[in-house]
Symmetry: C2
């Protein structure tokens, strides 16, 4: 593991354990460099990670102020799978595999993503249940050119885990789009909607590190169970 990543994790846990309290200053970069026995630039790389993840705020001439992490309690922003979310939030939930079949990518999707027509995919449809209610409907399309086989028992668990750990592929980045749309017949059949007229729809295109598109996902959430939290830094608006 990198030095700067180790240092990041070390300081992160110190903040979470409240060894550094909100509002306090971290030791200066020079002090940290001395105490970790690394150069200042290495410390600075660790601090960038803390900064990006909302743990600290830096001020020139002043120092690095520890932020109130309790207040930022749900760092979902970024690229996190349902499984990871579930384990980090200790949600009592269950996944039901509705479908896992091979077919071609829908035309609407191939057109938008500039893929060839009739691209072969695994189509995986899953329901996420919490306390017996079907809250989320996930529809995943995985390119068979990248993922040749997709056993049912993997589809019931985490696709990301299967892709990264079993297949040894590296996930790079994703683009997500959030909208609210009218419910479909399928939503009504599969989800516990209580007569809702709309669902939140999150459409994602997921790419490997080598920039290959390998997955397109449509995730449909019941309105009252949807929440997305984002931590954003101001970038000078030029």
């Amino acid at each position: 593991m990198n030095k700067f990543n180790e240092i990041y994790l070390d300081i992160e846990s110190a903040i979470l354990n409240q060894q550094y309290q909100a509002g306090e200053l971290l030791p200066s970069e020079n002090e940290l460099a001395k105490s970790y026995n690394v150069s200042r630039e290495t410390i600075r790389k660790a601090l960038v990670l803390l900064l990006e993840n909302g743990y600290i705020q830096k001020k020139q001439g002043k120092g690095s102020i520890v932020l109130d992490v309790q207040r930022f309690n749900f760092p979902v922003s970024g690229l996190t799978s349902y499984q990871e979310l579930k384990s980090s939030q200790h949600i009592n939930s269950k996944t039901i595999l509705v479908k896992n079949i091979r077919q071609t990518m829908p035309d609407a999707v191939t057109k938008q993503l500039q893929l060839p027509k009739d691209t072969a995919v695994h189509f995986v449809e899953r329901l996420r249940q919490v306390n017996g209610e079907s809250i989320i409907l996930d529809k995943d399309y995985l390119l068979t050119s990248v993922i040749p086989d997709l056993p049912d028992k993997e589809a019931e668990n985490s696709l990301f885990q299967y892709i990264e750990q079993t297949l040894g592929l590296s996930i790079g980045y994703a683009q997500k789009e959030f909208t609210v749309e009218p419910v479909t017949k399928e939503d009504k059949q599969l989800m516990s909607l209580h007569g809702d007229t709309h669902v939140v729809v999150v459409r994602s295109s997921v790419y490997l590190e080598d920039t290959t598109l390998f997955q397109y996902t449509e995730s449909r959430h019941r309105l009252d169970k949807f929440k997305f939290v984002d931590f954003a830094r101001r970038r000078s608006p030029m």
Copy 2:
């Protein structure tokens, strides 16, 4: 201006002008360092910015691949104001100032943000109209301890611009939370809802660079006009 920022902007515009095409490799870090007459670490800082903004993907031993920026066409993620969004998207829209009064922060907000009860704020309520329809209702609470005066004519324009340019304050970061909630009476009165039962609610806490909280905003969007796009990189899920 920084060197690495200049270089970032330079390469960014080269990508947008398609001088570097999607799928191509950028010149190597050593070549870029030579041609810009800077050290390699400085080039790398510029590339980090390109990476974070979804312009390139790096691969060890290979190079920096230019991504298809057209596909990522709506980089709203981050901290961008309505005015900036409007000008970047050339939306034909109008802002109506409904209220600009002094009052105390609602108790529900002070409790959640751990502020003192009866914190004095400017309460600004604004409607965003597109093509004559009221699409968004913004309710801003600005601490008078940070922003003593808030003229109506500034409230009609950009709050961020007033805060940054006129007052000379530096905005640091924000935490945003997205949910979908039932409409209120006020929503029905002020917005053009066509009988919708829900609105998207974006609640933001905005902080200065010195970590002072100075603004709390509730932004209520009509369902069919709401869209949020996020570019996310995979972080090793530990």
